[in-house]
Amino acid sequence: MEFAGSVFTLAITAIFVQNYVLARFLGLCPYVGVSKKLDSALGMGMAVIFVMTLASTITWLIHYYILVPDYVYLRTITFILTIAALVQFVEMVIQKIAPALYKALGVYLPLITTNCAVLGVSILNIDEKFTFIGSIFNGLFAGVGFTLVLVLMAGMRERLEEADVPESMRGMPLAFVIAGIMALAFLGFSGFKL
């Protein structure tokens, strides 16, 4: 029961209270770049959940079994190379065993290497001293939180396509203002004490 409780706390924190996009400012490039259409937002979100969970698992193992105690200063360089290799590997595996999934996620996978949320989660797992299981769940829920706000944003932007907006605010500027309003809503969760 205690385990389930701590997982639940982790989920609420990563998805709502400390949302990786709206509260921690991670992964903003795909957040404004891939949120024009609902289905591409969903595809990107799924790919991010998948890679984030895997990356959290592998970087945790690398940090505690290879880098500690002598090579901790190599963390940044090791993590980013691991993530780049991982993304490449996942792309090849999915292409071989699940061509349908590859077709849906394919174009988003290469973009994930430079998604700072993935590297951010990996580093935060270490900085906040999560356990191995905790890191895996944190990666998973960070991805879910990212997908949630990405899909919400895409839904709003699809509707705004038809709205009569001043020309200079169209596109990016409006996307940021909406993101601000959304962040305001998510700020309401920060009152939660867990």
């Binding site: 940044t76 360089i77 998604n115 020309e167 605010m169 990016m172 996307a175 962040a183």
Partner: protein, 197 residues
């Protein structure tokens, strides 16, 4: 030569025109001090990676160029991280996670791919410096607005009247303020650009 430097400041400003490097732009602009720290760190990495990549451009096979660039960039980020940790620990602490994340700042990889691997060292230095200065100025502009509204100060010095400083518009330095400031600034720039042309 001078053109390579000035283009990064206004015409191809990495933040406002190309919308690159958004995460640090919004995350660290809670005060001008943080903005300058982040801008300086990113400029150093940008300059050094441009220099090294333009020198190594004939040695790196084009199939593995992206991983090679990432290694070069990550090495300089590690240097910045360690130097800041040793000499300016307070700033290092308030920038926190965003120092290692300079590695995935798309401005740096973008300049390596789009400029440094096609041009000589001199031009790459000017390009790196110009982009770095443009990035820093953008950060300082956003930070100035947010610090003034959210804290009533500029670079730590009190600017607004006292009763404002006692109950400032707190939202400006919280997360929503960053997004709204950025959106409105981009809209304003669009208006200015349209008037010019």
């Amino acid at each position: 030569m001078l053109k390579e430097f000035t283009k990064g400041i206004v015409k191809e400003n990495p933040v406002f025109i190309m919308a690159l490097g958004l995460c640090p732009t919004l995350a660290v602009t809670t005060s001008i001090e943080n903005a300058i720290g982040m801008g300086g760190a990113a400029t150093f990495v940008l300059l050094m990676s441009n220099v090294f990549i333009s020198l190594l451009k004939n040695l790196i096979p084009s199939q593995v160029r992206i991983p090679a660039y990432i290694v070069v960039i990550a090495s300089f980020v590690t240097i910045v991280d360690m130097v800041m940790h040793a000499y300016i620990p307070a700033l290092h602490k308030s920038l926190g996670l965003f120092i290692p994340l300079i590695v995935v700042n798309c401005i740096i990889l973008g300049r390596a791919e789009a400029f440094a691997n096609k041009n000589n060292v001199g031009k790459s230095i000017m390009d790196g410096l110009g982009m770095g200065v443009g990035f820093t100025l953008a950060l300082v502009l956003i930070a100035a607005i947010r610090e003034l509204l959210g804290n009533g100060t500029l670079y730590g010095a009190p600017v607004m009247w006292e009763s404002y400083r006692n109950s400032p518009m707190l939202m400006a330095i919280l997360a929503p303020g960053a997004f709204v400031t950025m959106g409105l600034l981009m809209g304003l720039l669009n208006i200015l650009n349209k008037k010019k042309s």
